[in-house]
């Protein structure tokens, strides 16, 4: 069976600039895929290609089995970072308007939005607005959901609730493609795809992406002096409270402490996803 959305060696050039460079990606039914990359890596261009909003310079794009079209886009739900809701309309009016645009007759509003049905969207807290935007985008039971930074700006509990909804859509069979800079969100995905300078460099589960990468953890009586010592050597030190984490070879750090004359406990520990991401992008950009 075909993937819900797929690019095959797709390239997009704007004059001299290659925004997307021979990228192949597929989103299958029931899976949540996180698309990660630094700003300017080509994530937004890739999504616009997948939805058929721009034609590729070369390569092939398949959306629900054929070239993207108005017809296939009807089976997609999209939530931009800016939400795409009408702030001057109520929750109910936004819901009805979108359903009518998709040619659906008055679907009943989900139960959890009942209490706020007559509230103007613009007057609701952002966390609730994001929940409304997701519910509206999912209302026509799209086969593919595309979400851009779905929980940006919301409190942790609202973020958790939205992800409960996103997972429920995937378990009901939809494919979900999420772009995010937030690694808490990335860890919710079944699979991640990381872009650097227009190219797809890594793809796999969050655990695959981290792989066996390690960082050096430094504990010292005086974290401030230890930080200054390592920082002055040009290492990218990250302080977590009074524990320092450095994505570098252990030798360099042992040596710095031997020379600096500060006592510290130095151990190698598994990298977290954020650290792994920074390592992957830095390695690629350096080559």
């Amino acid at each position: 069976m075909n993937a819900l959305a797929e690019t095959r060696r797709v390239t997009l050039r704007f004059g001299e600039l290659t925004a997307v460079d021979s990228v192949s990606i597929a989103v299958e039914r029931g899976e949540t895929v996180g698309l990660l990359g630094a700003n300017g890596a080509g994530k937004t261009s890739l999504i616009r290609l997948l939805l058929g909003l721009i034609p590729p310079t070369s390569g092939e794009v398949l959306l629900l089995g054929s070239s993207p079209s108005v017809k296939s886009r009807e089976r997609v739900g999209y939530v931009p970072q800016t939400l795409g809701l009408y702030e001057d309309l109520t929750v109910r009016e936004n819901w009805d308007f979108t359903n009518r645009a998709f040619g659906l007759r008055r679907l009943s509003l989900p139960e959890d939005l009942g209490e706020i049905r007559d509230d103007l969207v613009g007057e609701l807290p952002l966390g609730i607005q994001r929940q409304v935007a997701f519910a509206v985008a999912a209302s026509h039971k799209p086969e593919l959901l595309v979400l851009d930074e779905p929980t940006s700006g919301v409190a942790p509990l609202s973020r958790a609730r939205l992800w409960n909804d996103i997972h429920a859509s995937a378990e009901a069979g939809a494919g979900v493609l999420v772009t995010t800079h937030n690694m808490e969100e990335a860890e919710q995905c079944d699979r991640l795809a990381i872009m650097v300078d227009g190219q797809m460099v890594v793809s796999g589960t969050p655990a695959d992406v981290v792989g066996s990468r390690l960082v050096v953890e430094v504990r010292s009586e005086d974290w401030r002096r230890a930080f200054e010592l390592l920082d002055s050597t040009g290492l990218v030190v990250q302080a977590h409270g009074d524990v320092l984490r450095v994505p570098a070879a252990r030798d360099a750090i042992d040596e710095a402490f031997a020379v600096g004359g500060i006592e510290a406990t130095i151990t190698m520990v598994p990298a977290n996803l954020e650290e792994a991401f920074v390592m992957i992008v830095s390695e690629r950009s350096a080559t």
């Binding site: 700006g153 919301v154 992800w163 409960n164 378990e171 079944d190 030190v237 302080a239 977590h240 409270g241």
Partner: protein
């Protein structure tokens, strides 16, 4: 006496934006205020630096010359170059001559923008603009540095670079206070204040907040939502059970900081005071 605000209340008309909040940052470490949009984070930081008056409570802060503050948006002049921005900031703090040149070189080095010093600030990437804004606020070597959502919208690379500057400033002895909506950023602080509706609903170091979780936290691998309070962590569920009886189908686990923050918000919502 420590700097900070104590039992601070701020009202905008009939709306209570800050409700008896206490926030006392420590020198030489990072304090993070976490909460969603509208929780009162910006109000809290503005009250801390004295940009808005308190309707109740007390504040103690260093002199204006010892405070650096970066608002959530802006903080740089887009039509001036990086150099001109620094010069303008230097003049407004009365730093002149060789003292200014020394600080300018130091700050440019710290924020890593030396190669783009002649570029208009408005032409820099979002991450570089944020770093410049922080650099401008650091020029006069403040003892209290306050940053309103400095990393929102930044990619992890820019975020790591900005945190290097933040940790460096704390390591030098300043009290750094910043707001965020990211749990993993709050986890990097020595002191965390979780804000909701203008009130502190959890406060302490990340490990203290984890240790304060009431009830039992469990994990379940299931497609259906387990009964009670539960949230997704990728393919599994984490559950929270306040009852004293035998645990349900969930395997009991130690909560992590993410769980602890969610549970603090849930407790607040269902009216459990801690």
């Amino acid at each position: 006496m420590n700097w900070g605000i104590e039992s601070a209340t701020v009202r905008y008309g009939s709306q209570v934006a800050l409700d008896g909040l206490t926030l006392q940052p420590e020198r030489g470490s990072v304090t993070v205020v976490i909460g969603g949009d509208g929780a009162g984070k910006s109000t809290c930081l503005k009250a801390l630096v004295g940009l808005i008056p308190l309707n109740g409570g007390t504040a103690c802060r260093p002199s204006k010359k010892e405070i650096g503050y970066v608002p959530a948006t802006g903080g740089v002049y887009p039509d001036l170059t990086v150099y001109e921005n620094l010069a303008f900031s230097g003049r407004s703090y009365g730093i002149k001559g060789s003292a200014f040149e020394k600080r300018r070189a130091k700050v440019l080095e710290l924020i890593g923008l030396r190669d783009v010093r002649e570029r208009l600030a408005g032409h820099l990437s979002g991450g570089m603009q944020r770093k410049l804004a922080v650099g401008l606020a650091l020029l006069h070597q403040p003892q209290l540095l306050v940053l309103d959502e400095p990393t929102t919208g930044l990619d992890p690379l820019s975020r790591a670079e900005l945190w290097r500057v933040i940790s460096h400033t704390a390591a030098q002895g300043a009290a750094v206070v910043l707001s965020t909506t990211y749990v993993n950023e709050a986890q990097r602080a020595s002191l965390v204040i979780l804000l909701s509706e203008g009130r502190s609903i959890a406060a302490g170091s990340p490990s203290q907040i984890i240790a304060g979780v009431p009830g039992k936290v469990g994990r379940v691998k299931s497609e259906r939502q387990p009964p009670g309070l539960a949230w997704r962590r990728g393919g599994i569920w984490h559950t929270w059970d306040l009852s004293k009886g035998t645990p349900g189908e969930a395997d009991r686990i130690e909560p992590d900081f993410n769980d602890a923050v969610i549970i603090a918000e849930l407790s607040h919502e269902i009216g459990i005071t801690r």
